[in-house]
């Protein structure tokens, strides 16, 4: 009796491999991959990155409870902050060019931005993957690490927009009556500004995450980033409350693009085109820096773990 190898019992080995047609040497014209954005701009790649964004969306939907808990916290803190701001604006009406309704709206908008803009930092798995060595797998793919992460992050932002932004906004509207723009154009402007804000936020967080290629213990960079994001985005206090040159400076730094600028566009307090220009400038600058840092990381860096 022919002895059956034990492994044949394990998987039914029904199919056979067709033998490989000997490769008609698959030489392609060398693709120039030197440009930082070749991955982002190449049109044939769009379906790929759209799919990654969709997966990012669904990946986060596996953690719905966490998102809803986040929404709850954001709403409660929104209510607390709103009371503080109301007291402040009642004492000093017209402060920073806002009336009370504007101030309350700003408060709930910034609460709604926490999720999608990931204002407490993180949101990317990259830092952890660099530290644990899993980034080896990411680097072995024929895709731009940065574009991959951007797509994934946009999916994340879209999901958190639904779960973490809508609830605080609705509660704010019900309890305090926040301002809603009436013109459709205002909504379009706001959407553009919001998306640009998410990209700027990604650009910043990607750099922070990438720094763990060089700085193994990233707690320092993470907390520095947290402070910068909280304080200079307008999350803690609207930036137009900052005095003099500090205010001017804060308004032109990248973090302003994450809360202050989109909120001002929403409130109609800022010229939309000017706002877009500043946001797009920071988005481009951070993405280019990220692309350069990715290249540097590929060249000189060490992938952790065996």
């Amino acid at each position: 009796m022919p002895r059956r190898h034990p492994e044949e019992a394990a998987f039914p080995l029904r199919a056979r491999f067709p033998s490989r047609p000997r490769p008609p040497s698959r030489a392609r014209p060398p693709r120039h991959s030197g440009l930082p954005f070749s991955g982002l701009l190449s049109r044939t790649r769009l379906p790929l990155y759209a799919r990654i964004a969709w997966y990012g969306f669904r990946r986060h939907s596996a953690y719905r409870t966490a998102a809803l808990a986040g929404a709850f916290t954001n709403t409660v803190f929104g209510i607390l902050r709103a009371h503080v701001l109301i007291a402040l604006w009642e004492a000093r009406p017209g402060l920073a060019g806002y009336d009370v309704a504007d101030a309350v709206t700003f408060c709930f908008l910034s609460q709604a931005f926490i999720g999608p803009m990931q204002l407490f930092g993180g949101g990317l798995q990259l830092a952890e993957r660099v530290r644990g060595g899993d980034v080896a797998v990411d680097l072995a793919r024929p895709a731009s690490l940065q574009a991959w992460n951007l797509a994934d992050d946009l999916g994340r932002a879209a999901y958190l927009l639904l779960l973490r932004s809508v609830p605080p906004t609705l509660v704010g509207a019900a309890l305090f009556g926040i301002v809603f723009p009436t013109e459709p154009a205002a909504w379009v402007f706001f959407t553009v500004s919001f998306v640009l804000g998410v990209v700027v936020s990604f650009g910043w967080r990607y750099l922070v995450a990438l720094s763990s290629f060089w700085i193994v213990d990233d707690r320092g960079t993470q907390s520095l980033s947290l402070v910068l994001m909280m304080f200079f985005s307008g999350m803690v206090l609207p930036l137009n409350l900052f005095p003099g040159w500090l205010g001017t400076l804060a308004q032109s730094l990248p973090w302003a693009a994450m809360v202050q600028i989109p909120a001002d566009v929403y409130l109609g307090k800022r010229d939309a085109l000017e706002a877009f220009a500043l946001q797009a400038l920071w988005a481009a600058a951070l993405l280019v820096l990220g692309a350069l840092a990715t290249r540097a990381a590929r060249r000189k860096v060490v992938v952790q773990g065996g």
């Binding site: 190898h5 998987f11 039914p12 199919a15 491999f17 490989r20 080896a136 072995a140 024929p142």
Partner: protein
């Protein structure tokens, strides 16, 4: 198919006075022809994973020259990824929270695999690796063996000419291990895929590899057939004893 010419990789570790250089791989040279099945052995920390990272363009060698499938892994990384498949047994390329099938779909887009080719190959692989029971299960719910089969599939969907495996049988039970071996053996024999396999399981080597390379302290200590390897330590019976003997008393440096 794989050409390594005096490749070396060192790491600088520690800082200040305890700063020193670790030579993970030194002066490593070998050639693997198309269709070979090569076992890459060495004790922990010998430099196996480092070699594999260099072969796949993830890590730059600090010296020497490497060519895989006719390409410089670092400079032509993207082109190279289309010709090789890589599996890091301890890591996964699959989307943790999504059904297994979705990761495969993404691989199709990533490697621009024609839809029909993709379907045919996935059917084949699903059949050979018995994936059909969990194609729609989120990866985080898979057992280690199931996940590993998923990872192997993901590495083969673009039909690479070379497959590089870093400990693909780690943590698998005897049955899954045997099945994995049978699969790899057939992939090499019937499909002609060149395989470079790193493992600590000498059973893998005995069952699969006609040729064995042994690396120790980052240097190639042995390169030959299994029988040649046995002949190095005539006093020992089993291949494990032979290898233990070689690990503890490594052959004279070349």
């Amino acid at each position: 198919m794989i050409e390594v010419d005096r490749a070396g990789r060192s790491f600088t570790v520690g800082r200040g006075r305890s700063r020193r250089t670790v030579h993970a791989v030194q002066d490593l040279s070998f050639t693997v022809e198309a269709g070979e099945f090569v076992g890459y052995l060495g004790p922990n920390g010998a430099g196996k994973s480092t070699t594999i990272k260099m072969l796949t363009g993830i890590l730059a060698p600090t010296s020497g020259r490497i060519e895989v499938a006719g390409l410089d892994p670092l400079r032509r990384r993207t082109d190279l990824t289309r010709r090789i498949g890589v599996v890091f047994g301890q890591r996964t390329t699959l989307w943790w929270d999504l059904p297994l099938k979705d990761s495969f779909e993404l691989v199709r887009h990533l490697y621009k695999v024609d839809r029909n080719d993709f379907r045919r190959r996935l059917d084949e692989l699903a059949d050979l690796l018995d994936l059909s029971g969990f194609l729609h299960t989120p990866v985080r719910q898979l057992s280690l063996g199931q996940r590993m089969r998923g990872d192997i599939t993901a590495a083969l969907l673009h039909d690479p000419a070379v497959l590089v495996l870093d400990e693909p049988t780690i943590g698998l039970d005897v049955v899954s291990k045997a099945a994995m071996r049978a699969f790899l053996g057939r992939l090499n024999a019937e499909r002609g895929t060149t395989v470079l396999l790193t493992t600590h399981d000498l059973g893998d080597i005995e069952k699969l590899c006609r040729r064995v390379m042994l690396i120790h302290h980052g240097r190639l200590g042995f390169d030959g057939t299994l029988d040649d390897l046995r002949a190095l330590a005539p006093g020992e019976d089993s291949i494990e004893d032979v290898v233990t003997h070689l690990y503890t008393a490594p052959p004279a440096e070349r």
